[in-house]
């Protein structure tokens, strides 16, 4: 049985809003000269501006796209359109045997995949742990110098009073952020830029600003004492600084096998970089994992992880107590979520969050699946109420709030929501096996 897609699944793959729009325009059966599929692939021919129609093909497993058009968008509008047709009118493409050009492409993909697997299974290049440790030490050294300056800058701000912050303009923060990039601590640069946004957020800016400032301060203090920190906390600090762990280092770490449920996904713009954050939850280990992908401009994300699906497989967590992980192995069969694992009461959520925060004070958000909770609108605000009657305020906007209310009908639903110590941010709602995204997506926003 071939994998199925919904219209939203497909639109989520669009590299930008323009591609999503053109893809929808092209998703008309009559614009396609050829529309065929089998269990593995989907292919078609679409008349473009040239004499020869474009040949479009999709490997349904991933999905992976190939098109003969010259577009540098990926996937291009033809690929999106073809998959959209398949998603909304599955009967339109006729079942057929793969033509040569599809066979060739799939074979070349297969060859590449086995080559990569072979490379991975071969003995990894001999690592030199001593040299690596030395490189790390050097980076920490550079970061330490940069963060000492940052600390002086922050203390100066507190001495004169943070009340002056909103009037200083964004450049005041941005120049400091650039210095952090120079000090090879991009993670800190992001936190400092956020300080600038918080300062200009208007009424009630003061407390969130001081909270963020104090946590950056905590980071500078940690870097100062780096040498005497326990190994696990060192790894956490490195992670927050933005010192990434090399792939070969990850490959030496033990994986965590589980039935991983993909519970939520969102795409955000961070400093001209698109960041896709996917949240997973282990049905057996009850571990939360966050898989990040970064893309510049119109480049595409790998689209294997789709909310509302689950797979047996192994994740590798980055060193330390953070949530970030990568997928090491996955069974090829993604299935729709059979039954969402997760928490039933908010006191469990608050306990999980406190425990995670105790291990990792720079935790910005924790996404957990919540079973059988009910949305409510009281005093013009959106709340989520659990089975015991405990309620948490949400950060929902009206569009997402009414959508959640409409699909719930006032009855309990399954939800995946981020929690930040103050408010819930529902990202996914599942009703009767149907998955709806409540996250703001870049493709929708533009």
């Amino acid at each position: 049985m071939a994998r199925t897609f919904t219209r939203d699944d497909v639109l989520r793959l669009a590299p930008d809003a323009g591609s999503a729009k053109s893809g929808q325009d092209l998703a008309q059966v009559r614009k396609w000269g050829l529309l065929e599929h089998d269990d593995i692939a989907l292919w078609g021919e679409c008349q473009g501006s040239g004499a020869k129609p474009y040949r479009v093909q999709i490997d349904l497993a991933e999905p992976a796209f190939k098109c003969s058009c010259p577009s540098r968008k990926f996937p291009c509008k033809h690929g999106l359109a073809l998959l959209l047709i398949y998603a909304t009118t599955p009967d339109a493409p006729t079942a057929a045997a793969q033509p040569d050009w599809v066979q060739e492409w799939l074979a070349s993909r297969q060859a590449r995949a086995s080559k990569a697997a072979e490379k991975q299974s071969r003995e990894p290049a001999p690592r030199d742990p001593a040299a690596q440790a030395k490189r790390r030490e050097k980076r920490i050294e550079r970061a330490r110098a940069g963060l000492a300056d940052l600390s002086a800058w922050m203390r100066d701000l507190v001495r004169t009073g943070i009340g002056t912050a909103p009037g200083r303009g964004f450049e005041y923060f941005d120049s400091q952020a650039r210095r952090m990039v120079d000090a090879q601590a991009p993670g800190v640069a992001r936190l400092v830029r956020q300080l600038g946004s918080l300062a200009s957020a208007g009424a009630g800016w003061q407390r969130p600003f001081l909270e963020q400032l104090s946590l950056v301060h905590l980071l500078t203090a940690a870097v100062e004492r780096f040498a005497i920190l326990p190994e696990a906390i060192r790894a956490d600090v490195e992670g927050v600084l933005g010192i990434t762990t090399a792939a070969d280092e990850l490959s030496e770490l033990a994986g965590v096998a589980d039935l991983w449920q993909v519970v939520a996904q969102e795409v955000e713009l961070e400093d001209r970089l698109r960041v896709q954050r996917t949240w997973l939850y282990g049905a057996k280990t009850e571990r939360v994992a966050q898989v990040l992908q970064f893309a510049h401009g119109a480049a595409a994300f790998d689209n294997t992880l789709s909310p509302g699906t689950e797979f047996e497989g192994e994740l590798v967590f980055f060193p330390g107590s953070g949530l970030r992980a990568v997928v090491r192995t996955q069974q090829p069969n993604f299935a729709p979520l059979a039954a969402l694992a997760g928490l039933d009461r908010f006191d469990q959520l608050l306990d999980r969050y406190s425990a995670a925060l105790a291990e990792f004070p720079w935790l910005e958000r924790l996404c957990l699946p919540l079973r059988q909770v009910t949305p409510a609108r009281v005093d013009e605000r959106w709340w989520i109420v659990d089975a015991t009657g405990a309620a948490l305020a949400t950060a929902l906007g009206d569009d997402a709030g009414y959508l959640l209310l409409a699909v719930s009908g006032g009855r309990p639903v399954d939800l995946a929501a981020e929690y930040d110590g103050q408010r819930l941010r529902p990202l996914t709602v599942i009703v009767d096996g149907k998955v709806f995204s409540l996250a703001t997506n870049l493709a929708d926003a533009a």
Partner: protein
């Protein structure tokens, strides 16, 4: 002291700055004070240390709230959900703002007794809130879940009867709310609506009085005459104009009688004679004899006849135009004992324009089927055909009329577009007449692809597919083909 309060104290201190008040840091709870080591550090560091600890404590220690009430759940829907393809088309109609497709979708869904999926309800209710014409259909199709959802958004509460009494809203509401209540009440209980207007008439401003008076056009009847007659003496000229216009729509009103009296000496009809060969008598065409009014009568002012022309037209012709516009068309056919087409053809060439314009005003006030075609044929292209008038054309005559209009080759496409929109949806005969009479460019410009009968869409597609137009027209053709495909799909999805 809890961590949130501690944090608030620290925020106050940080806002002012530690300079000069280094030793006046807010007191910390003992649990926090013991984990921090203040010795030897500067005040800034101590404040930030304390803030970090308080931040983490407050985040880790947050509690859920009790006492947020869950609302009563929605009752089960009566109708089954539409097919996934139908749902996808509805989503596309919203995303691309294809209003006519949305209307058609709702009509077909209501007829098939199917509802949209729940996740599209907010968009549907939003669309209905923005467009009054969608509301009756939308309220039917949203089903129980939609009715339930409306209570949470004040903008969506158009369908459920207002919980408050109309009188209350009328006395206390803003102008928009009052207009809404008045329109709703007028449709269900015209007399009560008129009484409601009277309760605040003295205190309402001129703009409001004009709006309320105009509302009487809904369900207008002879019962409104006394009130409208009193409006002819209103302080505001706008109110007087509206009242005169509405009274002229009532064939039995005193104003109409006065207009007929005024018109009697101005227009006379001479029936023609059929030639008799043996008596050597020649045939005489029927003719109208027009006598312009000699002078402006002061009593005309009250009935909405203005003295000075609002345009470049002789003053006496201007008076004639207004008087003819106030006479119901039936009056001419009955008094002259001739058909509408005979009378229109009988207009003398020097007064034809003024008479036709006057008759068009009368026609707009009270559509009389017999007059529509002769007047449409005789009118200049500039004249305004409102949707109401166009819809009064019987379906069986539309194809003939449209063909005649198109044959004149002078219709600006905007007016054709208006006709095509007013006659939506087309029956098969009208669709075929349109396809026969129009080239692809005109089919596109009039947006006829929204109106065509579904059975005619295949031919429309064939015409557009083979057509080679300019690139901008190709884009329009593409849009037309998309709409055509969507429309055929919804008809298919809701069939059976």
């Amino acid at each position: 002291m809890n961590s949130a309060a501690t944090l608030d104290n620290l925020v106050s201190a940080a806002l002012l700055g530690t300079r000069g008040s280094a030793d006046r840091l807010p007191a910390l709870p003992d649990e926090l004070a013991t984990v921090l080591s203040p010795a030897g550090r500067d005040a800034e560091t101590r404040l930030l240390d304390a803030a970090a600890a308080a931040t983490l404590c407050s985040r880790a220690g947050a509690q859920a709230r009790e006492g947020i009430a869950r609302c009563a759940a929605s009752p089960p829907d009566r109708w089954p959900e539409c097919s996934p393809r139908a749902a996808a088309i509805l989503a596309q109609a919203f995303a691309e703002n294809l209003h006519p497709v949305l209307v058609e979708w709702l009509e077909l869904a209501a007829a098939a007794r199917q509802r949209p999926p729940h996740h599209l309800l907010p968009q549907l209710l939003e669309a209905a809130a923005a467009r009054r014409a969608l509301r009756p259909l939308a309220s039917q199709v949203v089903d129980e879940r939609g009715d339930w959802l409306m209570q949470f958004n004040p903008r969506w509460q158009f369908a459920s009867p207002t919980a408050e009494q109309p009188e209350q809203v009328w006395q206390l509401g803003n102008r928009q709310q009052r207009a809404e209540v008045l329109r709703t009440l007028r449709a269900s209980d015209p007399a009560a609506a008129r009484d409601l207007i009277a309760t605040t008439w003295k205190d309402d401003g001129a703009d409001e009085r004009a709006e309320w008076a105009a509302t009487l056009q809904i369900a207008l009847s002879d019962a409104d005459e006394a009130f409208l007659e009193s409006c002819l003496d209103d302080r505001s000229s706008r109110v007087r104009e509206i009242a005169a216009d509405l009274l002229a729509r009532l064939p039995g009103s005193q104003l109409t009688t006065r207009m007929i009296e005024r018109a009697a000496p101005l227009v006379a009809f001479h029936p023609g004679e059929i030639g008799k060969l043996l008596n050597l008598k020649r045939a005489v065409q029927p003719s109208l004899e027009v006598t312009l009014p000699a002078a402006y009568d002061k009593s005309w002012q009250r009935d909405g006849i203005s003295e000075r022309p609002g345009e470049k037209l002789g003053q006496k012709q201007w008076w004639l135009l207004q008087i003819v516009g106030g006479v119901p068309l039936d009056h001419w056919t009955n008094t002259f004992g001739a058909s509408a087409s005979t009378i229109v053809a009988a207009a003398p060439s020097d007064f034809a324009t003024v008479l036709v314009r006057g008759w068009l005003i009368a026609l707009a006030r009270r559509p009389v089927v017999e007059w529509i075609e002769p007047l449409l044929a005789a009118s200049e292209t500039k004249s305004i055909w409102n949707a109401e008038l166009l819809r009064a054309v019987p379906a069986a005559r539309r194809a003939v009329l449209l063909t005649a209009l198109l044959a004149r080759q002078e219709q600006p496409y905007g007016q054709l577009q208006q006709i095509v929109a007013a006659w939506r949806p087309f029956d098969v005969a009208l669709s075929q007449a349109m396809l026969k009479a129009c080239d692809p460019a005109l089919l596109l410009l009039t947006e006829s692809y929204f109106s065509m009968h579904p059975q005619a869409l295949a031919e429309l597609d064939a015409r557009l597919a083979d057509w080679r137009g300019a690139p901008s027209e190709r884009r329009r053709a593409d849009q037309a083909l998309n709409v055509s495909a969507l429309r055929r799909d919804i008809h298919r999805e809701f069939a059976a």
